[in-house]
């Protein structure tokens, strides 16, 4: 845990000094919100039905920016090699990166949520606490897979293209759960319980799988 905490602190410090990830994500998400709001002119009722999809599409694409950056930093000056030759556990690095990305994407969501409310005239008819839980589980699903697949695509020549190619197909069950769960909560028409359970199960399976396989990924040439 000590290595995980130190790596997370180091990543947050690097981000605080460079602001590479947050700025890029914010800019991208902002563009999506503004362009979609000009493309459609929905009523409040229609907004509640389509907002789930819009919100998660914006966050998904913005998260890819963060996920690519998180490992790119370790490639500059080959710093990752310093980790690879150390006796520190691979899982500590993976967990720190995933938590860091979770924090970055969560900050983005907190900053973008008021904009979605304003641009799409949204009002939550379901449970706000369920929406918060769904956002947390959905964000973790995105970042845990994203962190893992970004590490896999690290040494490929077109890693910016490779990451979405690997990440999006495997994230489809999570995206379906996030979109349907969000829509259910926003409209208040259905219970989001099934989607929350699905997301929880997805998170457990992929977090475990990623942590089991990460050492092989880290030490691959």
């Amino acid at each position: 845990m000590r290595v995980c905490r130190a790596t997370l602190t180091k990543d947050l410090r690097l981000e605080w000094r460079s602001r590479d990830v947050i700025n890029a994500m914010l800019f991208f998400a902002l563009l999506v919100v503004v362009i979609f709001s000009f493309s459609f002119d929905p009523t409040a009722e229609e907004s509640r039905h389509i907002a789930g999809g819009l919100i998660w599409v914006a966050f998904l694409f913005a998260a890819v920016v963060a996920l690519n950056q998180t490992w790119a930093r370790e490639l500059r000056n080959d710093v990752l090699d310093a980790y690879r030759i150390s006796p520190a556990p691979a899982n500590a690095l993976f967990l720190a990166k995933a938590i860091g990305n979770f924090l970055f994407v969560s900050i983005l969501e907190l900053l973008m949520a008021p904009l979605f409310v304003v641009f799409y005239n949204l009002r939550v008819l379901g449970s706000a606490s369920s929406l918060a839980l769904l956002a947390a589980l959905g964000t973790w699903a995105l970042v845990v897979n994203g962190t893992f697949f970004a590490a896999i695509s690290l040494r490929t020549r077109s890693r910016e293209i490779m990451l979405p190619l690997l990440l999006f197909p495997i994230s489809i069950p999570a995206i379906i759960a996030m979109v349907n769960g969000t829509t259910a909560i926003l409209t208040g028409e259905d219970s989001a319980r099934f989607w929350l359970v699905l997301l929880g199960a997805y998170d457990v399976v992929f977090t475990t799988g990623s942590m089991l396989l990460f050492e092989t990924v880290l030490h691959a040439e």
Partner: protein
């Protein structure tokens, strides 16, 4: 100097292939503990690949490597200090912040170890400037401090003197000699063999992925010395 009979590094038929290109060709060699070895050779001779393979960063295509009696790299990792051609440092962090982080990877909680390592390479641990703003020579020295941080039994240094001024390079050589005298095994690759003249115990010559000669004096292999200074 340590005259231990067990070699610190034992290579048996070591080969490394990158596609059709053979970076190492059936290298078989022994390196004794407590000695300073200087690996020489032209560009593409296989020096860096050999060092990366010794550090466990590159897996051999064929052959075996034994480091400090360990054939499992995971067991050898805590005993190795590695300095690569890139700095292996975060440009946005200060020298002390960098070393504090890497110390944590080795389970070192004592902050004095970090400042001692920085002072040992003649840098100031209180310097708050980010490493990205260091000169190339300062970065090289900090990189050496990082390699020393875990007090390794073996140091693998890839071109540690490149872009370092003569005075600093000589100070680095003195530090390496002191470490060798303290029993550490040191393997250095360089194009600046003259710096290690009289300090290195043995000069190992590589060409086309193979060890072609081992001499006590680097001037003895004059045919290959044309690109060295």
């Amino acid at each position: 100097m340590n005259d231990s009979p067990e070699p610190a590094i034992l290579l048996r038929g070591l080969s490394k292939q990158f596609g059709k290109f053979a970076a190492l060709r059936r290298v078989t060699a022994e390196f004794s503990a407590g000695r300073l070895y200087c690996i020489l050779g032209g560009n593409g001779a296989g020096k860096t690949t050999l060092l990366r393979t010794l550090a466990g960063l590159s897996r051999p295509t064929r052959g075996t490597v034994s480091l400090l009696g360990e054939t499992d790299f995971r067991a050898a990792r805590p005993k190795i200090g590695y300095m690569a051609h890139p700095s292996l440092l975060y440009d946005e962090l200060s020298g002390m912040e960098n070393l504090r982080y890497f110390a944590c990877l080795y389970g070192i909680a004592d902050e004095a170890r970090c400042s001692d390592a920085i002072r040992a390479v003649a840098l100031d641990p209180t310097l708050t400037r980010a490493v990205g703003q260091y000169s190339q020579g300062m970065r090289q020295r900090l990189s050496l401090a990082r390699a020393f941080l875990n007090r390794p039994e073996m140091l693998l240094l890839d071109e540690p003197f490149s872009n370092v001024d003569l005075t600093s390079a000589q100070a680095m050589v003195r530090l390496l000699c002191d470490s060798r005298d303290a029993g550490k095994t040191i393997v250095v690759t360089t194009h600046q063999a003259a710096l290690l003249d009289g300090s290195a115990d043995e000069f190992v010559w590589m060409d086309a992925g193979a060890i072609v000669n081992r001499t006590k004096d680097w001037k003895l292999n004059a045919g290959s010395a044309s690109e060295l200074i």
